[in-house]
């Protein structure tokens, strides 16, 4: 155990920082044309992705032909931290780069890699992830969007919901039922579906705060034809791939969650003198205790992240990540609530979102109360906190299924 990294890691960091300083998109450029959805890549974001790809900085852990430099896990961790510190998003299309592209590399054909994954890495297209349905949320395996093979193409009918970025994405990594007679986990397949295919209707779902920038969507599929060659991996093997896809997401997601948490805490600590000055001594003591608790939570999130990372780096299992997902998202919620409550009735004022170019990226936005409501995005999506507790109990602690 050590607080500091090896010299080789520090050399990696120095090289990255130097490259970033010379090549990063400017805050002004980002603010002038902000990304308004996780499927939306403004011109600067497309250029930036391409620049990172060409220089081997897009996914450092991958080989050069896929935009990387064969970096190790510790270097990758440093990379994610430094990008977040510099307030530069790796991509505005987080699910495309983080889940869809790696899944296509893992399970797709050479043609699919060429036509779908590589264009994501080059900043040419964005992707969304078609998983949840009105009747299949936490119980994802009960999804009912049907795909029927008809000669050389599939015909898809059904409905997806909570599809982030579908209002801008170029294609969808779509989970559908291909064998309705098989047990629910064994009849699911994945198709790559261009979003401009006739029969697809996207209806944005304005969110609980900032309804002017919806990221979530309903996606209606009505007789949508998809080439047979767009089937990813083996037929009816989609559930196993779904678990693989989400593992891609969980590996390092904690870093940005922790940094978002730290940013919220820093903001709270800087506002604290002003907020506390208005309180009576007793109120102040109670408020200070709440602030200290979230300060401990924040440091704990970072340390827990490193602890889980140490396990992951030596080949531990992905379910450990459920712990970080659960903890960081709930801690984030507590910070915002603590701050809003200390603020009192002033917390009711509606703020304007500072459009600094990465609305779509995992960063605290808006007033404390808005942040509080928005924080439920993280405790509900990608496996609600209750599902994370089940995963921890069953897969990490080995408790029997109910």
């Amino acid at each position: 155990m050590r607080l500091r990294y090896d010299d080789s890691v520090e050399a990696f960091r120095a090289e990255l920082l130097e490259w970033l300083a010379a090549n990063r998109p400017s805050p002004a450029e980002m603010a002038a044309d902000p990304s308004v959805s996780t499927g939306h890549a403004p011109a600067w974001a497309r250029r930036w992705t391409r620049t990172m790809f060409d220089a081997g900085w897009l996914v450092p852990g991958w080989p050069p032909e896929r935009g990387g430099r064969n970096a190790g896990p510790v270097e990758t961790l440093v990379y994610i931290e430094e990008l977040a510190k510099a307030r530069v998003p790796r991509t505005t299309n987080v699910q495309g780069l983080g889940i869809v592209a790696p899944s296509i590399f893992d399970y797709g054909t050479d043609d699919q890699i060429r036509d779908f994954a590589m264009p994501i890495l080059r900043g040419q297209v964005t992707a969304c992830l078609g998983m949840s349905e009105p009747g299949a949320g936490s119980d994802l395996a009960s999804l009912s969007t049907r795909a029927v093979l008809d000669g050389d193409h599939w015909v898809v009918d059904g409905q997806k919901v909570w599809t982030s970025g579908a209002n801008y994405a170029d294609f969808c990594f779509l989970f559908c039922r291909t064998d309705p007679d098989a047990p629910k986990h064994k009849g699911i397949s994945i198709l790559l579906v261009p979003m401009d295919t006739p029969g697809i209707t996207v209806r944005p779902l304005p969110e609980i705060v900032h309804p002017e920038h919806p990221d979530l969507n309903e996606v209606f599929l009505d007789g949508v034809t998809v080439p047979a060659a767009n089937l990813v991996g083996a037929l009816n093997d989609g559930w196993a791939m779904a678990n693989g896809s989400l593992a891609h997401e969980r590996g390092m997601v904690w870093v940005s969650a922790v940094m978002g948490l730290e940013e919220s805490l820093d903001r709270l600590l800087s506002e604290a003198p002003m907020l506390l000055a208005r309180l009576t001594p007793t109120e102040r003591a109670l408020a200070v205790d709440q602030i200290v608790r979230v300060a401990i939570d924040t440091q704990a999130a970072r340390c827990l992240g490193y602890r889980g990372f140490a396990k992951l780096a030596r080949g531990g299992t992905a379910p450990e990540q459920a712990l970080m997902k659960l903890y960081a998202s709930e801690a984030r919620q507590r910070v915002a609530l603590v701050a809003a409550e200390i603020q009192g009735a002033d917390a009711l004022d509606v703020g304007s979102v500072a459009m600094d170019g990465h609305l779509a990226v995992d960063e605290p936005q808006g007033t404390w109360l808005e942040q509080y409501f928005h924080s439920f995005a993280n405790t509900i999506s990608a496996g609600a906190s209750e599902i994370q507790r089940n995963i921890i109990a069953e897969r990490v602690l080995g408790l029997p299924r109910g």
Binding site: R293, E386, N390, G402
Partner: protein, 371 residues
């Protein structure tokens, strides 16, 4: 930050655990509770295995290992609920000697001939600023007067380090236990025996004056030594909590009601997941604090307070849920669970409760000065 233990550290943990499994079975703990034993055979075994020498410098017959290694032994002792002078000697007396730059007693400690403790608390507070025990100049040395509370092993340790206040500020002295009046308190956990130590015109001179009042390093010696002791108490407490967690998890898998293991019910699953999270959270913060001490990082004050606060918060959940989920059997004297529960509770209440450390953090984070 790298939170991975080295192979040597993992090996040390493994061997410590296996030593304690045979030398400190629950039956030994029970004998201490029943007052039919005091754990002296265990201490003889640990001395034979060089445990007291582990963290001491090699020039004083120590093994020259660092705070992380001492911490591993502390965790294993906490896990085993071991009655042992190790914690007070290695994480309370030794740090104050080292911080004062003194080699006094070290060779005797390494050889297991001397045990010790640190008398800093008064009236249940571990903040050095609340010390009222006095140190007066007299002849060639000093004379100490005052009452120290909750001194771990205070009635049995060979040597007692005392934090006292002179006109010029805090000082640290080490006095033989025979020179003080140590009244053992009747406490809920006899494996963590504490005593009230009364100093009635106790003379100290020579090398027993570790840091004299007025020495500019005195406040930092006290603060740093207390940080080591506090973080060690956090490590011990979290390890005990992990043992509670493991026992409770096993019980939830074994105990059947309504025809299935109670651990298959979601109400219990979610509580166990939260307990696991609390243990992991407190472990992570305790390791971070241990790292800041091992590497003398300037975040050590904040890290120590966070570690002890988190250990206390963890203890609060684990003693409650550990007992509740064990049901009636955990409520009995015959079951071993209560040894763990009482040790965890004691660990929170010694060297500052979670609330006391959060209050200290308020000061360190600049929140207390706000008016």
């Amino acid at each position: 930050m790298d939170f991975e233990f080295t192979d040597e550290q993992l090996l040390l943990r493994e061997s410590a655990r296996s030593v304690l499994e045979s030398a400190c079975p629950r039956g030994l703990v029970r004998s201490v509770y029943d007052r039919t034993g005091d754990g002296h055979e265990l201490w003889a075994t640990l001395v034979e295995l060089d445990w007291p020498a582990l963290g001491l410098p090699t020039e004083h017959r120590g093994l020259g290992l660092g705070y992380l290694e001492v911490g591993i032994l502390v965790e294993e002792l906490g896990r085993a609920v071991a009655p042992s002078p190790f914690l007070a000697t290695a994480t309370q007396l030794v740090p104050v000697l080292r911080e004062a730059g003194s080699s006094f007693l070290l060779a005797d400690i390494a050889a297991g001939r001397c045990t010790g403790t640190l008398a800093v608390a008064e009236g249940g507070s571990w903040r050095p600023s609340t010390v009222t025990t006095t140190a007066r100049h007299a002849d060639a040395g000093w004379v100490l007067d005052g009452v120290k509370s909750h001194v771990l092993d205070g009635a049995t340790a060979t040597e007692v380090a005392v934090v006292a206040k002179g006109d010029e500020g805090l000082g640290v002295f080490v006095v033989p236990r025979t020179a003080v009046t140590a009244a053992p308190r009747s406490v809920i956990d006899p494996t963590f025996p504490v005593a009230t130590v009364t100093l009635d015109s106790v003379p100290v001179d020579g090398e027993r004056v570790l840091v004299a009042p007025g020495d500019p390093s005195a406040p930092s010696v006290v603060e740093r030594a207390v940080q080591e002791a506090t973080t060690a108490m956090a490590l011990s407490t979290v390890a005990t909590c992990r043992a509670i967690f493991e026992a409770t998890l096993q019980y939830a898998k074994d105990r059947e009601q309504f025809g299935k293991p109670i651990g298959s019910f979601q109400a219990l699953k979610h509580r166990l997941a939260d307990c696991f999270l609390a243990v992991e959270r407190a472990t992570a913060l305790a390791y971070f604090a241990a790292l800041t001490i091992a590497e003398d990082d300037d975040r050590r004050a904040v890290a120590t307070a966070m570690a002890k606060a988190a250990a206390g918060e963890c203890q609060r959940l684990l003693t409650r849920d550990g007992l509740q989920l064990h049901g009636g059997i955990g409520f009995t004297w015959e079951h071993d669970l209560h040894f763990l529960l009482k040790r965890a509770k004691t660990g929170d209440l010694l060297f500052g409760t979670a609330a006391a450390h959060r209050a200290h953090l308020a000061q360190l984070l600049g929140l207390e000065a706000v008016a």
